[in-house]
């Protein structure tokens, strides 16, 4: 950079410092705009990252088929028993008919009470096979997960979730103890690690809390608890008969996911006249989430763009006032040999200094996004715990993620705004007739 460049910049800074309040106000617009871009994009990224993480945990190679209560009472079986959902035959048909299938993991879940001595807690009893651990990424803090042998022998063994363990065994190691579910006792062989509950995703998957689970072999669940679940409610009884709650199908290759999902749908359609199941493809969800995120980001950039535009107009306004006020100075400079481009450079450098300062401040405050959000949440939690508790988990756990592109883009745009909105006032200053300008009072 030539010394003239630095001199121009230095003089620009000097004139700006002469009117601190005015310069400060001019900066404010750009500063708010840049901060807004970074914060909004950061929060947007945070939300969609959360969603994408959850979907990824479901596994991109997986297809999740779940039993779903049909809307009307168009169920199989008669009387007060409602029978619906996936059947063991469906599972067998999938395993034998789908060539691309790597594995299919069946699962049955029932809400029950689990007891130990005088302690009782509501749990989700999950009947599953040993593969269930792998596909749901369950980590153990104690003991082992269910084995194939447990399944074959239909043993009364259980692996309990972290919260379940805390409820029933606050002061001791649960492994080796027995919990009671209905009339049966189950020997505890393992305890899972604490796992962050997942939020629901776009309505197709409900929120899940793995910490309140009790895992027992699917075969044990079938023989000890059975398919029929009777719930008594003040005077009436309801019974549901469901064989399998969920089948998680894994394919070998990501490219085979869509095709396999179609095969599964065709298979199920044949044997289920009413739609009492749902097929969820995490890969599709992931793609949807990504598209959604792009649109969301686009929207945010648009909003932020408007903020920056307004900031730019503010700067232009102030520069036009400055040019009028300094007409005489322009005349003097021209008389002393300043070319038109020198005048343009002078005023443009002032606007760029203004907007770049606003941009830098904005970037600085942009970096404060994460601590600010986390801090606000902590304060809110202390002051209004009910309000925080009533918020959806997505917001309760929102971690803003600063997107590097948004920081760079916001700063560059702010400088660009300076150039674009500074050019007109600078041109106007340069085009003045030096004689007229000198005569200006």
């Amino acid at each position: 950079m030539s010394p003239k460049f630095w001199q121009t910049l230095r003089l620009g800074l000097k004139s700006l410092l002469l009117h601190k309040l005015r310069s400060g106000l001019a900066i404010l617009g750009i500063f708010i705009g840049v901060t807004a871009v970074i914060w909004l994009v950061g929060m947007g990224e945070g939300v969609s990252y959360q969603a994408q993480q959850q979907i990824k945990e479901l596994g991109a190679n997986n297809i999740i088929v779940r039993s779903m209560k049909p809307p009307s009472d168009a169920t199989r079986g008669g009387g007060f028993v409602m029978a619906y959902g996936l059947m063991r035959d469906d599972y067998d048909r999938m395993v034998s008919n789908i060539p691309t299938l790597l594995q299919a993991v069946p699962m049955r879940e029932i809400r029950k009470e689990a007891r130990f001595l005088d302690k009782v807690t509501d749990v989700r009893v999950v009947g599953c096979t040993s593969k269930y651990q792998e596909i749901n990424n369950i980590k153990l803090s104690r003991g082992r997960f269910l084995s194939d042998k447990d399944f074959e022998q239909a043993d009364n063994v259980a692996v309990i979730g972290d919260s379940t363990a805390r409820m029933l065994f606050p002061y001791e190691n649960p492994v080796g103890r027995f919990i009671q579910i209905d009339k049966e006792f189950y020997s505890i062989v393992g305890q899972t690690e604490d796992k962050t509950p997942s939020g629901g995703i776009g309505g197709s998957l409900a929120a899940q809390n793995f910490n309140l689970d009790v895992y027992i072999p699917l075969s044990t669940l079938r023989w000890r608890i059975g398919d029929l679940v009777v719930t008594s409610r003040s005077g009436s009884r309801e019974a549901e008969q469901v064989q399998l709650s969920q089948i998680t199908v894994t394919v070998r290759d990501l490219a085979e996911v869509d095709e396999t999902a179609d095969i599964i749908k065709t298979l199920l359609e044949k044997f289920h006249p009413t739609v009492d199941y749902s097929v969820t493809v995490p890969k599709e969800l992931l793609q949807q989430a990504q598209v959604l995120q792009m649109m969301f980001n686009l929207l945010l950039v648009l909003i932020a763009g408007i903020a920056l535009l307004v900031g730019g107009i503010g700067i232009m306004n102030i520069m036009l006032a400055t040019v009028t006020e300094r007409t005489r100075e322009i005349g003097i400079r021209r008389a002393l040999g300043a070319k038109q481009r020198d005048i343009v450079a002078q005023f443009l450098s002032e606007t760029i200094v203004l907007s770049a300062t606003g941009g830098l401040l904005g970037v600085f405050f942009g970096f404060l996004c994460h601590p600010a959000i986390v801090g606000t949440r902590a304060v809110m939690k202390r002051l209004f715990p009910e309000i925080i508790a009533s918020l959806p988990p997505n917001i309760q756990q929102l971690e803003p993620r600063l997107a590097p592109w948004s920081i760079i883009a916001a700063f560059l745009i702010s400088v660009g705004v300076g150039v674009i909105f500074g050019l007109y006032p600078a041109q106007r200053a340069a085009k003045m007739d030096p004689i007229e300008a000198l005569r200006h009072e």
């Binding site: 021209r334 040999g337 038109q340 000198l438």
Partner: protein, 232 residues
Amino acid sequence: MKMAAQVINVHKDYVLKGGIVVRALRGVSIDFPEGDFVAIMGTSGSGKSTLLNLLGCLDRATQGQYILGGQDVSRLGDDELSEIRSRYLGFIFQSYNLIAQLTVVENIELPLYYQGQISRDAKERCIQMAQMVGLADRLDHRPYQLSGGQQQRVAIARALVNDPHVILADEPTGNLDSATGEEIMQMLEALNAAGKTIIMVTHEPDIAARAHRTLRMKDGLLDSHVPTGALH
């Protein structure tokens, strides 16, 4: 005799809104030999300001020639005229015309800055100029911290810093009391004695009397040519 500046049959027309043409200069020819000290007098509207603007390369003649330091500058473009102003001309104005946010040294530096001379030497030269006009102890002062006479001395230093062919002074004592005005006039006389060519516009006869000769303008023409002192 070598000419510092020369105007030959210069015309200047202004077209007002509505198409009315004002003929501000109607064929003026003047020679300014090197070392000349000329006062230009005239009532307002006589064309003396227009002439000064032309001499200062702030404006171009409608017709005629202006030769400055041996170079015909009457057909140059805006950038070239700016270049000429920064290299060959020094301006002294009635209201000093210093730039408020700049210090004394920075004000003096401006013509060099626009020539592209930004260096330690340039700065050194500006400090010398300030010393020459007796403001060595005011280098970092702002114009508002100076008296009128001091401000005009800064302006003189600024007019001299680029070692110009011609110094143009527009009512240099107009805003000053007589004692300070006298001080400034002595300074101009000293500069002229050192060989500088000075062209001064004034309407005060006793100020004009300090020049070697006085030119009177009337209705866009040179009215008379009165020598007021011995021509060198």
